[in-house]
């Protein structure tokens, strides 16, 4: 079998992390590896429990890419950050932020929709942002 391109697993190509900015707002972040891109219209967020109700406000505009079949589609490269307001949050409450994303590698390979989750704890009122939680921490962090 011939040599094939080296590729990252979806969760490494599209690293997802989040933190609670305050007891009413989550900040979701995708770090897209060089040579990869995400489709803007395929990014979806949800929280568990559902009662906390996360809204996905308009995402920042992406880079327009011409697609022969879908026409013009917007894509993200590098960092994508979205502030997600919660309908209902309680300081100290633990929430799971679920992110669905779909993207491709420039080399000519696409990944199906990938679901990643992080658990964040809402900080007490006036306590400032909580720590950044990565969905799939890098391996080197084991040795820290």
């Amino acid at each position: 079998m011939a040599a094939e391109p080296e590729l990252l697993p979806a969760e490494q190509a599209f690293r997802f992390s989040a933190r609670a900015l305050d007891d009413r707002t989550l900040e979701a972040r995708f770090t897209v590896a060089d040579g990869y891109y995400l489709y803007r219209d395929k990014l979806k967020f949800a929280v568990e429990p559902e009662a906390a109700g996360v809204a996905t406000p308009p995402l920042p505009p992406g880079k327009v890419k011409d697609d022969a079949f879908f026409g013009q589609v917007e894509t993200f490269r590098g960092e994508v950050v979205a502030k997600l307001p919660l309908a209902k949050g309680t300081p100290g409450q633990s929430l799971v932020l679920v992110a669905d994303s779909q993207g491709c590698a420039d080399i000519g390979v696409c990944y199906p929709v990938n679901r990643q989750k992080v658990t964040v704890v809402l900080p007490a009122a006036g306590k400032g942002p909580g720590p950044v939680v990565e969905a799939h921490p890098r391996k080197k962090s084991w040795f820290k």
């Binding site: 079998m1 094939e4 979806a10 390979v109 391996k139």
Partner: protein, 176 residues
Amino acid sequence: MNPLRIRWILFAGIAAAALAAGLYFGRQGVTAPSDPAAAAALAGLALPDPQGKEQRLDQWRGKVVVVNFWATWCAPCREEMPEFMKAQTEHGPKGLQFVGIAVDQADKVSQFADEIGLNYPTLVGGFGAMELSKSLGNSLMALPFTVVLDRKGAVAHTQLGILKPDKLDSIVKQLL
């Protein structure tokens, strides 16, 4: 040895093994060798076509079968399909058969197939089809992924990413 120390050693052992596996697969790149049982599972596979009629892959037994996992949402997949159509026209009479397996929704598959005038059958698979491609060597479960089966149904080639026309040609000519 105290239990804490044993736990530490165990942990370190597991961590080292996981890291080694990570490095190994990382360096290996993309496709792992396909499992012979997976080839048998592929041969016995039955999936609906876009009209909902079940089709068995073994109806093409005896031919050189090129199974292409694709989706309408996958731009590189759509890009290579016209080349597959040309190859189907050219080598079909000699016993080459392309079969698509779309990881997609039937209506989208049907619309796209009509749009490009697809000249070979495509079936519609869900995530199960993705799992099958994984056992055939598509460890990252990405698309397009193509498996070339010889006339006996054994895996002759697997390819993640676009299968270029000249490469396809040389593989197929050896098998026909």
